[in-house]
Point group: C2
Chain length 379, copies 2
């Protein structure tokens, strides 16, 4: 194998595939990046066996030569060293050559590295995914779907299924649901697909977080293929595979209240900042991070917290409207702030059905996003 | 006590005095910021008993009103909470009032915090420093003196005196010296002083690092007063006290070679980048982080490292000149990079007296800065 390649483009691809590589893997070859040179260009692969990422750099793009292949072939190089080396090489072009079996020389200007490589034949094969049923979603919408739901997955392994995001594909619609059993985030969007198969799968939250870091902010579609235990996302020059979580995701539809007793319409940003400040003194004590919301006259709501050892805080926010019963309710400031950040830019409606019942937050006039939070009982 | 104050200016002063506050202090009141309002303005104080910082905000500056005092007085507020609260308050103006003994109300817009304060009478007094002998140094030169030396202090407490920077004031000159016994950094500069007293003191490296973060980048002079166990730095609206280290600093002058056998003139940046790359593979093995320098023909120097398990790297750098004997020498890449970063922007001369002797690095034609490094014996 011997080729030369544009450094900046190589750095970008290395950063992308590094997202799949874990230094704590128990399979030694997976600490490496697999590099394959063919007549079309160079492919990099990284994997931790849960997530695998493949990034392709073509010989030429938009009239610019990115790669020149002298001899096709492959090698696996230690990701930790290879990624730092390419970042620090002095010239715009890098030459990579395998000499003497697995010895690999990396040259740029007057700099020459000689790395011990590993045999690419020993690198695990990526899952084979048949591409019959393809779902298409614009990249920016997919990123929003993830951003507005994935924060609500469970971080505890007591119920592993809750560490994933539930995807339901049905009648031209994708619904994403995440819950840690104290709060729930849901978002749906229309999708395009080549077949009317329905799906109900659970994607690890960690995979979706990594995918969101790699995808460009573009309206170009991502193609998605779902198999029994894998999901593949295909973007330009990029393949992202993730295993799916096994097991049945709980039915969350019955958790969501359908009526309300108190309805609040409020500016998201002002409300978020007031909650943020009210939580400053609420770190310690019996109910860490819990704030209290009280409706007052004239559409004013009060957010407060009190930790006797430290002090107390009272915030007043003018709402657009308060309809229905007066209310005093306590909840986690963190959960509320996470939900409000997912709804940033919207004016929101919060619908309560009493101090001890879950409440829901929607953008006004938009039922495609829903955030649900369970209140906290305070004594 | 009651006053109103511009939020941005308060945030800046709080950040400055926070540099002296340690959450791990054993003296509870020192986890607080002391706030004092007088007819002239507001003074904030933070201290960990080694370093004390006082920041003053005057009622008015450049025609802008910064503070309005309603009732003079004082309070001590928990630094952790107070600093986060002022950062997040909604309006440009903040009102602070002590009610009911030590209860303190902080108001801004519709936000109201009520903090439990501590008695300012119990806050330790700052050292009394008589201002007879004042040394003046432009702020930017003081910051450079520190930046170019303080990184070389010892981080180990086995010889506590080496965790400080030795300041020698003599004949209108200040010399700063730091060493951890493997390398040494020295820089001198002319100073202005009102008295011809000589000093030989040791300032904790930690204090100088904090001071450098607070001082503005300006050519305005800093006034310095040295007493038996304290040093005071006075800048605009700022007092910075540090205790001095006790004990005698070793005489380092005899460590510095006065002759050389090989002299190298080289571009700092190219040399630094080559060392940086050569060190990438030198992390593990018998001599962690050690690289080898070899003089070749035609003014070329080679930087290399070799870790059999990982691979090897060879860098070539074209020097301006090599005079004297051929040389092979090994040294810590980290020490060399620290020294080169302190000399950034200069063309440098490196003077060697053989592979096992300390070598020195100067900017060419500037004897006021010196970096010394002990080589490493490799087998």
């Amino acid at each position: 194998m011997k080729f030369s390649i544009q450094r900046d483009r190589l750095i970008q691809s290395v950063q992308d595939v590094m997202k799949a590589i874990s230094p704590r893997t128990t399979i030694p070859i997976l600490t490496g990046i697999k590099i394959t040179a063919t007549s079309e260009g160079v492919t990099l692969t990284g994997s931790d066996s849960d997530v695998s990422i493949e990034s392709f750099i073509p010989n030429e793009e938009d009239g610019n030569q990115l790669v020149e292949i002298f001899t096709p072939g492959g090698i696996v190089l230690q990701a930790k060293f290879f990624s730092e080396i390419v970042k620090k090489l002095p010239m715009d072009t890098i030459e990579i050559e395998v000499i003497n079996q697995l010895q690999t020389v990396i040259r740029s200007g007057k700099s020459e590295f000689n790395l011990n490589g590993l045999d690419p034949e020993e690198y695990p094969h990526l899952p084979q995914v048949s591409e019959e049923n393809v779902i298409k979603i614009p990249t920016d919408i997919l990123k929003n779907l993830t951003r507005q739901t994935v924060f609500a997955v469970s971080t505890s392994e007591t119920r592993p299924i809750l560490t994933g995001v539930n995807w339901k594909v049905d009648s031209g619609n994708l619904t994403c649901i995440a819950t840690d059993s104290h709060r729930l985030a849901m978002r749906s969007a229309a999708i395009e697909y080549t077949n009317d198969a329905d799906y109900n799968i659970v994607i690890p939250g960690k995979s979706l977080n990594e995918l969101n870091k790699i995808l460009d902010d573009t309206s170009e579609p991502v193609e998605i293929v779902i198999t029994e235990n894998q999901i593949l996302f295909k973007a330009k020059h990029l393949l992202f595979f993730s295993r799916l979580l096994e097991g049945n995701y709980p039915d969350t539809s019955r958790l969501i209240p359908t009526e309300s007793k108190t309805d609040l319409v409020i500016n998201t940003k002002e409300f978020l900042q007031a909650i943020d400040r009210a939580s400053l003194l609420a770190r310690e004590g019996r109910n860490p991070n819990v704030v209290k919301l009280t409706t007052l006259n004239s559409g004013i709501i009060e957010i407060s917290s009190n930790t006797p050892e430290v002090g107390k805080v009272i915030e007043q926010v003018q709402s657009e409207s308060i309809d229905g019963e007066d209310l005093k309710i306590s909840f986690s400031a963190k959960y509320m702030m996470d939900a409000l950040k997912a709804l940033e830019g919207f004016e929101i409606r919060i619908s309560f059905t009493g101090a001890m019942r879950p409440f829901i937050i929607h953008p006004i006039n938009d039922e495609s996003i829903l955030q649900l939070i369970l209140p906290v009982r305070t004594y």
